[in-house]
Amino acid sequence: MNRRTFLSYPAAAATTVGLANTIAGLANAATLAPDPAPIDFKSHLPAPGSFPEKWICGSPSCMDNTDPPVHVHWYNAHTAILRQNKAYSYEAPFAPLYFGNDRILLLDEGFVQLRTDWDFRGVVDKCIDEWCARNGRDPASMELLVAFTHLHSDHYAATNQFADRPNTRYMGLTQEEMFGFWGMTNFPEQQVALDLGGREILIWGSPGHVIAEFAYYDSYTQILFTGDMFYRGRCYISFWQPWFDSMTRLIRFCDTHPVSHVMGCHVEMSKDGQDYAYGMTYQPDEAPVQMTVEQLRSSYEFAKTITKPGIYYTGTVFLCNQTRGTTTIDRNPYRYD
C-alpha cells in the first residue's frame, strides 16, 4: 500500500460502508416489510450446520500467500465462523459471529491491530450486511456486541477497529470491565443468559489459561465455545486447580445441556496428533477445530491423573500444565552422540 492509498484508505472505506448501509437501508425500506417476521431460534434444535473440510491454514512462503486475511465460513444461515489467515498472524484464532433478532455477538477479534493491515471490521460489516439482506433487516438497527473469550491480545487486537461503528458496544480490556460487561458479580460460577433476540447465549467463567476467561454456549447451534482453555492444540494451563475446576464445570454443563460441538479458539496440531510448534505459519494437515463432547470428557478423565507440571497428550489436545514459560514439545533434530 503506497502513501496515497494509505492516506485515503480509512476515509474511503468509511464512505463506502456508510453508502452501502444507506443503500441497503433504502432498499429494505422500499422492498421489505417494515417489521420482518422474527426468526425462530427455539425450535428444531440443535440448528444444523457444518464446518468446512479445510480452513485457510497458511502457506509455505508467507509473502506468496494469496488467501484473504479472514476465512469466513457460514456454519448455518445465522452463524458465521471467522478465522484469521496464518500469514497475517501465526495465532490464526477462530471467531464466531452469532446473529439474533435484535443483536449480533462477535467473539474474538484476531491478532492484528490496524485496519490498514487487515480490514477485520470490514469483513464483519460485510457479514452483517449479507445476513441483514437475507433476512430483511436494516443493519443500522442491529446492535453489535464486540466481546472476546479472554484477556490475551491475540483475541482482542482488532477491537479498536469498531470504535467508530454505530450501534456497537465493546468489552473493555481489563478483568473488571470484562466481568462487568456480562454483569457478573460471582465469577466463575455465575451463569449469565445473554438474549440476542430469541437466541440465548449462556456465559460463565472458565479460568485456568488466564483468570479472565469465559465459556460461551449458543443455545441455537448448541456449540460450546471453550476459548483457549480447551482447544485442539497446546492448552497452556497457567493455573492448574482453577483450570481443572473449569473443566469440571464444562463437564457438568454437558451433563445437563445438549452440546453439538465443542470448539476452541485455535488449532495447533495435525489430524494425526502431531504438534505444530508455536509460531508456525503453515499447517497443511491441521485437525478440525470442532471437538465432540466425548473428546472433552476423555480429556477430563485424563486430566484427573495429572499430578505434576508437564506436557501431556490426552489423545485430543496437549495439556501444557504450567510449562508455558519453560518448555515445549519440540526437540532439536540435530542432536547426536
Binding site: 500500500m1 509455505p60 512462503s61 508467507c62 509473502m63 506468496d64 500467500n65 488467501d67 486475511p69 489467515n85 500469514a87 497475517y88 501465526y90 492484528v112 491491530q113 490496524l114 493491515d117 487487515w118 487486537a157 510448534a277 508455536y278 509460531g279 508456525m280 505459519t281 514459560g325 519453560t326 518448555t327 515445549t328 514439545i329 519440540d330 526437540r331 532439536n332 540435530y334 542432536r335 547426536y336 552422540d337
Partner: protein, 361 residues
Amino acid sequence: MDQKPTYNPTLSGIPNSPSGAYPNGNPDVPYNLPGARNTDSAVPLHRSKPVDHVYVCDGPAPGKLAFRWMYGSNIAAKNRDPRIQVMQYNEDTVVLRQNMCVHWEAPFTYLLFGNKGALLIDTGANAERLYYPLRETVDAIIARWAKVRGRKTVPLTIALTSGEDIAQNQGLAQFAGRPDTTIVPKPLEVMKRFYGLSGRWPSGTGTIDLGDRIISVIPTPGTHKDGVSFYDPYCDLLFTGDFIFPGRINIGNDRDFVVSLERLKTFVAANNVKYILGGHIEMMFAPGKYYPRFYTYKPYERVLELEPSIIDELIQYGREVQGKEMVLIRPDFVLFNGVSPDQKTLVWPAGVPNITPPRPF
C-alpha cells in the same frame, strides 16, 4: 588562523555520528592505504584480457556491510521486499539473505570470487525458485562479475556449512545440472573425502582454491555433526553457519561443540579474523534478547557481524552448559543444550542490562 589537518570532532565532522569516530575520515592516517592497490581500476575502456586480481594484502581487504538488513513485516502476507537481499561487501564478496517472509530462518548465503572461480557458501531454506530465486540471483551476480573481470566462464563451487541443515541445504536443488558447477557432496563421509579430510576429521583443515584466494575449510562439528566453517584470508572473514551466529545456538553435541571452539580459537590465533559471519540473526539489539522461532517480523535485529573475541566467551559458557540440559543467555548469543528449541529460562546473566524492547503493536 593555523589550520592544522588534525581531526577535531567539533569542527571536522558530526560529533555524535552513529558510526563513531572520524565520520568524515581521519586526516592523520595516510591518504593511500595499503588496501587501495587491491581494487581494480574501472578506467580501461576495452580490456584486452581477463583481469587477474591481486588477492594479497596487508590486513583485511576493504569492504563493508553498509546497510540495514530487511526485517520482514508485521503482516507477512503483505511483504513486498525483495525475496533475496543482496549486499556487496566488496567487489569479490557478496552477502545474500533470504527474506524472512519467505522463510522465517532468513539464512545468509555468501558468494566469494577468485581468479579461477567462485564459491557459494550455503543455499538457503527454500527449494522453490518462485519463492526464493537463489539460482537466478547467483547467476546474475556471477554474470555481472564475469563481465567486469573480462571472463567467459566462472566455475562455481557450492559448499554448505552443514549438509544436514534444512535451513541451508534446500536451495541446492536449484543448482542441479548447472554447467561448470561443483557441488560439495552432502553425506559426511563423502564430504570429508572431497575436502581431503578422511582420517584427519575433525583435526585437519581442507582448502578450496578459488585462484589466488584459498578458502580454508575447518571442521566445526558441535551444532551439526557435519558442520564446517570457512575462512577467507582475503577479507579475513570467518563463515560459521549455525556454529557461531548471533542467535539461539542449538548445540547438537556439547563435547564436540567446545572442542571445535577450542580448535577454532587456535585457528583464529594463527590467522587474522576481522569478523565472524554466521548463518542467521536471531538476537535483538537489546543485549540477551532474542526472537522466537517462526517470527516473520524482526524490526529490532542485531547486526550480523561478530568480533572474533566471541569465541572465548563461547568456550567459557559452552563449558558451563556441558553435560547439563539448559538454556544460557549471553548478550550476543543464547546456548540451548539438550532442550527444546523453544525452551525458556528465567535466569538473566549478571551485569547485563535487562532491556525489553517494545512489542510491534
